[in-house]
């Protein structure tokens, strides 16, 4: 399944409608569905937040292959920004020192082991595999 979304946080409901459609079609359990929605939201909002003026829509593709969901998100007009690179978020900091920035990508890296990033002809493509448990 494939769909395109405008660069806006307001598109999130449409993004979730898309993942919900996929989850229902393939009887994805609630736990996997939560992780799918969370990782997709963090990656999509990251693309919107750091590249609001890029041209073209964000494209998303979901594929079920054996016992895994394969997810692709592509921004067709972007500078390189490799979300799979290790970025340190110090989660041991006290409340006074904690800031929300970087938490979304940290969660993505924590929840998805095989995050892959590619940048070619100004298109950033992020893909990952999510096992069906």
């Amino acid at each position: 399944m494939e769909r395109s979304f405008k660069r806006s946080f307001g598109q999130l409901q449409h993004v979730f409608d898309f993942t919900n459609e996929f989850a229902l079609a393939h009887s994805i359990n609630d736990k996997v569905r939560y992780v799918l929605d969370l990782v997709v939201e963090e990656l999509f909002t990251n693309m919107v937040k750091y590249n609001p003026s890029g041209s073209g829509d964000i494209q998303m593709r979901l594929v079920l292959e054996q016992d895994e969901i394969i997810v692709h998100l592509a921004d067709p007009d972007s500078d390189p920004f490799d979300v799979s690179e290790h970025r340190t978020v110090d989660l041991k900091r006290s409340l006074e020192e904690r800031k929300p920035g970087g938490l979304g990508i940290y969660l993505v890296q924590k929840l998805v082991e095989n995050l892959h990033y590619q940048h070619h002809n100004r298109t950033s493509t992020i893909s990952f595999r999510l096992p069906l448990e």
Binding site: F9, G10, L12, Q13, F16, D30, K31, Y34, D37, L38, E41, E42, T45, L91, K92, L95, E96, R98, P100, L103, G104, Y106, L107, K110, L111
Partner: protein, 94 residues
Amino acid sequence: MFDIRLNEQGDVVLSGRFDAAQTDKAFELLNKVTESIRVDFKDLQYISSAGLGVLLATQKRLGQSGKRLKLVNLSKHIRDVFHFARFDMIFEIE
């Protein structure tokens, strides 16, 4: 659909899905909170880092006057997210 309201007991009640498109709505109510308060997650199905950020900012603001949020009725999935983010070390969770 996300909703945030105060119930008759004076608790903050969250319901639906707390995603990045809902932060303004959440801040609108939480910015009015000046005392320690319970936040009921019973009907909340989903929260992302954006929602966690709103709760963190509120906790930090209240903490300056010795007040805090107390989070109750978190689902297993949401509890897992708090754990991964180590937010379970910051918030009082019942």
